[in-house]
């Protein structure tokens, strides 16, 4: 059954924890978005994990270099997953995987900026990533002609464990589930909703159906 991940793109850890408290019953993975990480530093990860010791915490580091060092930082602060950019070299991913094995945690490779996402997803899994995030960033989503359908089609033919991020909402969640993802990542559809708990619950019900 696909997990539900909430991507929290707020800038204050107190606001992020307050949001997480509302939606936690329906969420499997709590993601601290990259701007939140850069705003609060490692102490933000520690505070989130301390507040939700039974949830999986993902630190969206989007690491582009020093893979082992940065992954060790994230895991040391309490993260269960750390993201590494797929555009980076294999040695950066391999370094992060080494750190993940030592901590019993996982590396997620983020395909933002990658030209051939399916090919890179297969390579990343071969390098030891736990799963690969097929991802259109906030800037790409704002570009004319963007559709999540591209990611859904790629997930269906990837043949390796993937998540989808970039426009997961009530309109797309059934198709995202159908594509066979291991994780569906919702951001604005939850944190931007009038009632984040109801929004998370509705998404989770479709994943569980």
């Amino acid at each position: 059954m696909a997990k539900l991940q909430v991507a929290i793109d707020l800038l204050k850890i107190e606001d992020a924890i307050a949001l997480a408290k509302k939606v936690a019953p329906y969420i499997d993975i709590i993601e601290l978005g990259t701007p939140l990480i850069k705003s609060e530093g490692l102490s933000g990860i520690r505070k989130m994990k301390d507040a939700f010791p039974d949830k999986l915490v993902l630190a969206d580091f989007k690491t582009a270099d020093a893979g082992e060092l940065e992954a060790n930082m994230a895991f040391g602060a309490g993260a269960d997953y750390v993201t590494i950019l797929g555009t980076t070299g294999d040695s950066t991913i391999a370094g992060a995987v080494k750190a993940a094995k030592e901590h019993g945690k996982g590396v997620v490779v983020d395909t933002i900026g990658v030209k051939d996402r399916v090919k890179r997803a297969k390579e990343a899994i071969a390098l030891g990533a736990a799963f690969v995030e097929l991802h259109a960033g906030l800037d790409e989503q704002a570009e004319e002609g963007y559709s999540i359908q591209v990611l859904i089609d790629e997930a269906a033919r990837a043949g390796v464990p993937v998540s989808i991020a970039g426009g997961v909402n009530m309109n797309s969640i059934a198709a995202v589930k159908q594509s066979g993802v291991v994780v569906a990542v919702a951001g604005a559809a939850i944190y931007g909703a009038e009632n984040p708990a109801e929004a998370a619950k509705a998404l989770k019900e479709i994943l569980n159906a």
Copy 2:
């Protein structure tokens, strides 16, 4: 005359400021490395700028998405420059440039992971970047067969303002200067030296010669 930038890859802002105090007389740009940013958050940038109001402070965000938001965060915390990944889409760079213009600050595009660095450098300058960092990351430098000469050759034929990072030291600084860079970035050659001040002074003297 080429500026000298020190890349500080320490994890505690107190250690970073202590190092910066030693080398400041010979340095034009103080860079907070990506691991330091992720470790300390925005408060690290603020502390560094407060300690060195007359130096240029570069926040090595390596932004891969939400260019305008992340650049605004860095400039708001006191950074004079923020780095954006060249592997990311043009809209991310353009968003960061928009924020830079509003703050009267600058965007530096980091070519880590870029296949054709010279081509991307020209595109980044056309998008409004202040300069482009021709960069081999720590992981790439550790790979067999790496040589800074590739970056030096690219700088010489780029025809746009570039810096070089990835192996700048006493062996390479003269060739780096000769290539016409606007900034030479030294990391381990300074922070890993027995006497960081002497190391920075020696590099600066060659740039000024």
